[in-house]
């Protein structure tokens, strides 16, 4: 077997596993979101649930909150729901990306990398990166807004007297996927050109 085909087959297996993991993440986050939503709607005595951790995450910083600054359980659940929603959206994008990547790998496993399906799926992947960046920017903004909405008072109480005069919740989003999209568009063009060359080579005797 051609070494390139072998590599493509190995990569395909890796992405097959990634697809399963993403599916599990997607289903698990959806189930957890339903559970959290049900808890909020049914409104049982949430104080009896021991799993609500007194932790605030500010980016990479985790703050363990003292019992006197008790976080409202409903707010923790609402924020959890937002995070789960974000995870679900990321998983869906991941699943779509894996689908396109596997479509690209299929002709490569058959030893024919210059088929129209490759260039087409590279382009789809580039568009997916652009849409993902836009959606992620919106969701990050929403998450930041909701964090301020749910925990703004608690954070204000926590820093009271610490010398901090103002708190603001800015949107921070990863724009590197736009660069990835640019590279994918270029690759798509290269593969389209290669496809034409391959056709010419196939029709030459």
């Amino acid at each position: 077997m051609n070494p390139l085909c072998k590599t493509a087959k190995t990569l395909d297996t890796v992405f097959q596993i990634a697809k399963i993991l993403l599916l599990i993440a997607c289903i698990a986050s959806a189930v957890a979101a339903i559970f959290a939503g049900a808890l909020l709607l049914l409104g049982p005595d949430l104080e009896n649930f021991g799993f609500v951790e007194q932790v605030l995450e500010l980016g990479a910083v985790r703050l363990s909150i003292a019992p006197e600054f008790e976080l409202p359980v409903e707010n923790v659940l609402c924020h959890g729901l937002t995070s789960l929603g974000l995870l679900s959206v990321v998983s869906v994008f991941g699943l779509l990306a894996v689908k396109y990547i596997r479509n690209i790998l299929t002709p490569m496993t058959e030893g024919e990398p210059f088929r129209s399906v490759v260039a087409r799926n590279l382009k789809k992947l580039a568009w997916l990166s652009i849409v993902y960046t836009a959606v992620r920017f919106f969701l990050d903004g929403l998450e930041s807004f909701l964090f301020g909405h749910f925990f703004g008072d608690t954070v204000a109480k926590l820093i009271e007297g610490s010398g901090i005069t103002h708190i603001s919740y800015d949107i921070e989003s990863d724009m590197s996927f736009l660069l990835v999209a640019g590279v994918l568009f270029l690759l798509s063009y290269v593969f389209r050109y290669a496809e034409e060359l391959q056709k010419l080579s196939d029709e030459t005797l």
Binding site: L200, E203, T204, L205
Partner: protein, 70 residues
């Protein structure tokens, strides 16, 4: 395309079959059939040379230019 292949005519003149030519030239029967029917977009000099050698003809006997009418 304005280049027309006249392989079938030369083959008929030399009374040689596609299978025989395929064996002598070393090109697959299917590919030679494509060449005969004009279903190729290019031909290598080495292939042309082998065909001309077997058929004892000039490239001009196989290839013909016909101006496309506008």
């Amino acid at each position: 395309m304005s280049i027309i292949l006249r392989l079938d005519r030369v083959m008929a003149d030399r009374k040689i079959s596609l299978n025989e030519l395929s064996e002598k030239v070393g090109v697959a029967n299917v590919n030679l059939s494509k060449l005969k029917n004009g279903h190729v977009s290019a031909i290598r000099f080495s292939t042309l040379e082998a065909i001309c050698d077997v058929l004892d003809c000039q490239p001009g006997d196989i290839l013909e230019f016909k101006r496309e009418e506008a």
